[in-house]
């Protein structure tokens, strides 16, 4: 079993979980899903630089081989931006909950009946 396979399968599993969670009906699940998708996407971007072990992207005159620093730089900013996005979404969810009294993504009442167009409650 190769590291590449482990990373790829982990990306796949996190993507699947992220998509499944973002399709849920409650804001908190959607937030979890977004966080999960961020992990997956960051890992995916990172893996585009191929996997290298024990060769940090620190330049020195006597190293011939190196790991690709560019995806790392891109992912670093992506991690921080993902935090900003998660924070904003969480606060939006909180404010929406405080305004409407429900934490359903489509504003359906918490205890209420099914909206004809909307999905499930969970």
């Amino acid at each position: 079993m190769s590291v590449e396979f482990l990373v790829a399968s982990a990306i796949g599993v996190m993507t699947a979980a992220g998509i499944y969670l973002t399709l849920r009906g409650r804001t908190f699940s959607v937030v979890l899903g977004l966080a999960m998708l961020s992990y997956a996407i960051n890992a995916f971007l990172f893996s585009m630089g191929r996997l290298v072990i024990d060769q940090p992207p620190i330049w020195s005159a006597d190293t011939a081989t190196y790991t690709d620093p560019l995806p790392q730089a891109l992912v670093l900013t992506a991690i921080v931006i993902a935090f900003g996005m998660t924070a904003l979404v969480v606060v939006l969810a909180l404010r929406a909950y405080l305004e409407t009294g429900t934490d359903h993504v489509d504003g359906l009442p918490n205890d209420g009946e099914q909206h004809p167009d909307a999905g499930d409650e969970v």
Binding site: E4, A8, S9, A10, F28, F44, F46, L88
Partner: protein, 969 residues
């Protein structure tokens, strides 16, 4: 090139004819007039007309001043580069064809402005009307003078838009609005096809300059794309010129005030399509495809239009359909594809513009003075309105093709051309149908005369009929004079113009011909006599003809169009409602599904096998970490409804991801990920405090299964894609440059950090701005949460989980105080070494922020808040400003924005130190990160604190006071 061959005397022309600016001035004058009239909206009505008229007149005089040079074949053009990268230039040229049209547009425009000044009632805003009219004039002038087909398209659309405004001028009338919409939909839709066609044409020819396209006729006709370009361009022309089956919009456009109908919908705009047919004649005409498409469409339109016109009771509708019919005639002539037919087409454009505009103005006079234009309420006006009657009768006789008027001349020549045109091997089809159309045309012309001016005088006119003032009859009279004079002296008056214009249309020397009243006894004369006699006969037995007409199943185009539009709207609504009904779940599902479909499509077309690059063997520890990650993910999904638990599981996932980064040679990422992880979990905890803690779990529904299938499909695809990429060798990455230049160019050995603050500093700069904006948005969202419905809910909020009796435990407080200075030093260290070793502004900022957040946690938000010295908003602002100032600093040294500089400095004791401006930039990054994180989490804590309704703790360490009170009880 056509014009080159025609200009042997070019060198002899005076220099003033070549001043490039006058063409641009001519093209601008109507627009300036439009603007002027609009600005002078408060001026008296006659001032509007005077203003608009003087701009038209000035442009007309400038054009006429050019006429000798143009007719002599001189090359007159002007060119300003606009967007040369896409081949769009403001380039104008004036050749005989453009000259004739410009003369018609400006000359008839001038007459219409005078007429309109007297026609509009005091209730109509003449400033708005004339402003639109001048806008249209400028657009139309632009079409006929453009040398660049992209520019032509701009003007083409502008005529559609200004026509829309003018048709809907009486916006209180439903017909006006409907007619305007329909005209815009049809001509605008055709305009889209035209754009596509012109782009194809320009691509074939290799240029968007008309003069170059006109010289590339053979290349274009040989191209496999020629049919595509032709059909698309023809759709544009046919919709604009109301050709069958697009003819229906023109009669609806008659809801416009009559001056508009006379100007746009008879003399000018509807001729734009015909103009383009003539303009592109040298490159597009001459093929079988051209003949069958254009000539057939023209013939059918001519016949259908004439037939419908005959039975209309509204004078303007009658004239509208007759216009459709005449446009069909012109289209047919250009469709024949022979030089002689093109000459006749040119001549008829001129003649039709004169008599038809005069007739429309005549119908307007009748409407204005009698109060109706319904033939059933008219008749016997000959002696009541002698001037109008004379003008109307002469113009209508010209339309009928009666000698010695100009309509007779061109109709006769048209019949001559039709007489020897075979259609699909049949020699009689075209002549017979054309004669029939001419017969119907004569019939409706006679009907116009008889129904309005002859017959018994009536007693029930809505108004007392009388001749109008010269303001209304003067303009049509000027045109009627032309109708007669051109009819009598065609060769003298129109000969040279027609000769030159035909040369421009054909793109070469026109064949020998003579414009004359008498061509001897020939087929055309016979057809003409038949048509006139037949027309008279039809009118004599009009009742019978009408009964036959009513039996014919004629679909009402307007209803068909409206049903089509309604269907379209319904379809679109169904589609958009199906995709987006306001439900996030629905929208996201469709989004993911579409993405998955796109990915599947890409996979089906390309290679998706795993590559052959050597892989890294996985150690047992790696596998264990992988298992932990998978277990964490599964646990999050399974326990998604138990929210605190899910939060703990997801932090496991984040931790493994951080460890993975370390393992895979990305220490910066690991540091960032772990610190972001801490902040994120804190944030989610704070939010969860106020949100519901659990969701009621529900048994698996169809929806869950459906979502799971989609998710697994997408996850599988992404995972597979990642695997396929990772098992292939990198494809010449640009990273090598970053690697090589990091030290010599950026002055740092940590390539990731150098990339962030130097190579891609602009990205980072944008990113910290985004982060700052997100934090400010969070602040704004929460700051206002204490008001309104949300404020009421906050007030009513009751803590719904068990609280620890020790709110601020001593161990935690003491530890956090100890950690604070250490954490600050660590942050500083991470910051300073970042350029050369893992670290940098992002990570340092996060570490510092976490150190502060720990104080919130240990002693409460308010306690920490009281001891805060800096404004968090200001931190964000300073951060962004410092980064910006660093970037701008490089401008002062003549280097581009965000160029970094570095040097080595010797300090006593410390030794040699490298200082880079990138460090300053990184300070900005760190400050922004600290400010953003603290602002977001601080504000959230603040709200939570308010909701808890706790007293502010007096000490750094305390226990829940309610508990003490209970104990005492």
């Amino acid at each position: 090139m056509a014009r080159a061959r025609l200009c042997p005397v070019a060198a002899l022309q005076p220099a003033w004819g070549n001043l490039p600016l006058d063409l641009i001035l001519i093209s601008l004058l109507p627009f300036l007039g439009s603007l002027g009239v609009a600005l002078a909206a408060r001026a008296p009505r006659m001032a509007h007309a005077a203003l608009a008229g003087s701009f038209s007149l000035a442009a007309l005089l400038l054009v006429l001043a050019k006429a000798p040079a143009v007719l002599a074949g001189q090359d007159i053009s002007a060119r300003i580069e606009w967007v040369p990268a896409i081949g769009l230039n403001v380039s104008y040229f004036l050749d005989p064809l453009g000259l004739m049209f410009a003369g018609l547009i400006l000359g008839i425009g001038l007459l219409i402005i005078i007429y309109a000044a007297f026609y509009l009632s005091a209730a109509d805003s003449s400033a708005r009307f004339l402003s639109f009219l001048m806008l249209f004039q400028g657009a139309m002038l632009g079409i006929v003078m453009s040398d660049n087909i992209l520019l032509l398209l701009v003007f083409w659309e502008l005529t559609s838009l200004s026509s829309f405004l003018l048709i809907g001028f009486w916006r209180h009338l439903a017909e006006g609005r409907q007619g305007a919409r329909m005209a815009l939909a049809v001509t605008g839709g055709g305009g889209l096809a035209l754009i596509a066609g012109m782009l194809v044409l320009g691509n074939i020819a290799g240029s968007y300059e008309l003069t170059e396209i006109l010289g590339a006729g053979e290349v274009i006709q040989a191209s496999p794309l020629y049919p595509v370009a032709l059909v698309l361009i023809l759709i544009g022309c046919f919709t604009k010129s109301a050709q069958f089956p697009f003819q229906f919009w023109l009669p609806q456009a008659m809801a416009a005030p009559t001056p508009v109908s006379a100007y746009l919908h008879s003399a000018t705009m509807v001729k734009a399509g015909v103009f383009l047919l003539a303009r592109l004649w040298p490159v597009l005409a001459g093929t079988d495809l051209w003949f069958y498409l254009v000539a057939t469409t023209g013939l059918v339109t001519m016949l259908v239009g004439a037939a419908i016109a005959l039975f209309k009771t509204d004078l303007k509708a009658l004239l509208a359909y007759s216009t459709v019919s005449h446009l069909g005639l012109l289209t047919m002539l250009f469709g024949f594809g022979t030089p002689m037919a093109a000459i006749v087409g040119v001549f008829h454009i001129l003649n039709h513009a004169t008599f038809k505009a005069a007739l429309f103005m005549n119908a307007g006079i009748v409407d204005h003075e009698v109060g109706t234009r319904d033939t059933r309420q008219l008749g016997g006006l000959l002696h009541l309105m002698p001037i109008a009657a004379t003008l109307g009768i002469v113009a209508a006789l010209s339309m009928a093709g009666i000698p010695p008027l100009n309509g007779f001349l061109s109709k006769e020549m048209m019949l001559e051309e039709a007489a020897h045109t075979a259609w699909a091997g049949s020699a009689w089809l075209v002549p017979v149908l054309v004669t029939l159309a001419a017969l119907l045309s004569a019939a409706y012309s006679f009907r116009y005369i008889v129904a309005v001016y002859f017959g018994p005088r009536r007693t029930d006119y809505p108004k007392t009929p009388h001749d109008p003032g010269i303001g209304l009859w003067g303009p049509p009279a000027a045109l009627v004079v032309l109708v007669v004079l051109i009819g009598l002296f065609p060769q003298t008056l129109a000969g040279p113009l027609v000769q030159a214009v035909s040369g421009a249309v054909i793109g070469g020397e026109p064949p020998a011909y003579k414009l004359a009243l008498w061509h001897g006894f020939n087929a055309a004369l016979l057809m003409s006599v038949l048509a006139v006699a037949g027309g008279a006969l039809v009118l004599w037995r009009f009742g019978l003809a009408e009964r036959i007409w009513q039996r014919l199943p004629v679909p009402v185009a307007k209803d068909l169009f409206e049903r089509f539009i309604a269907g379209l709207v319904q379809g679109c609504r169904w589609l958009s409602d199906g995709i987006n009904n306001g439900s996030l779940q629905r929208t996201l599902f469709v989004f993911f599904l579409a993405t998955l479909a796109l990915g599947a499509e890409g996979m089906s077309g390309g290679s998706y096998a795993a590559g052959t690059r050597e892989t890294l063997p996985a150690s047992p520890i790696t596998v264990i970490a992988w298992l932990a990650l998978i277990a964490g993910v599964v646990a999050v999904v399974v326990s998604e409804h138990k929210r605190f638990l899910a939060l703990i599981y997801i932090s496991v996932v984040g931790l493994i991801v951080s460890l993975g980064f370390i393992y895979l040679s990305a220490p910066d990422l690991a540091l960032t990920q772990i610190s972001v992880e801490v902040v994120t979990i804190l944030l989610l905890l704070l939010a969860l405090n106020l949100l519901p803690k659990i969701t009621l779990p529900r048994s698996a529904s169809v929806r869950h299964v459906r979502d799971a299938v989609l998710a697994i499909g997408a996850g599988g695809g992404v995972g597979w894609l990642a695997y396929a990429v990772m098992t292939r060798a990198p494809n010449d990455p640009i990273s090598a440059f970053h690697w090589a230049q990091s030290k010599p160019g950026g002055g740092g050995t940590n390539v990731v950090n150098v990339t962030l603050v130097d190579f891609r500093g602009f990205d980072t700069f944008g990113e910290i701005i985004v982060l700052g904006i997100a934090a400010l948005a969070i602040y704004a969202l929460l700051q206002t949460a204490t008001r309104g419905a949300s404020g009421a809910r906050l007030l009513a909020w009751i803590p719904d989980i068990v609280r620890s009796p020790e709110r601020h435990p001593m161990m935690l407080v003491v530890a956090s105080r100890l950690i604070l200075p250490i954490a600050i030093v660590v942050a500083l260290h991470i910051f300073l070494r970042g350029h050369n070793l893992p670290g940098g502004g992002f990570i340092a900022g996060l570490v510092f922020a976490i150190a502060m957040l720990i104080q919130f946690m240990a002693s409460g938000f308010e306690w920490a808040e009281e001891r805060r010295r800096t404004e968090r908003h200001a931190l964000i602002a300073f951060g962004v400003l410092i980064a910006a100032a660093t970037g701008l600093g490089s401008l002062a040294f003549g280097a581009p924005f965000l160029t970094s500089a570095f040097g080595y400095f010797h300090f006593p004791v410390v030794g040699e130190v490298e200082l880079a401006t990138a460090l300053l930039f990184d300070i900005g990054v760190a400050l922004t990160v600290v400010g953003a994180v603290l602002l977001a989490l601080g504000q959230l804590s603040n709200i939570a604190q308010r909701a808890e309704k706790l007293e502010t703790p007096k000490e750094a360490m305390d226990i829940d006071p309610t508990r003490e009170a209970e104990a005492q009880r």
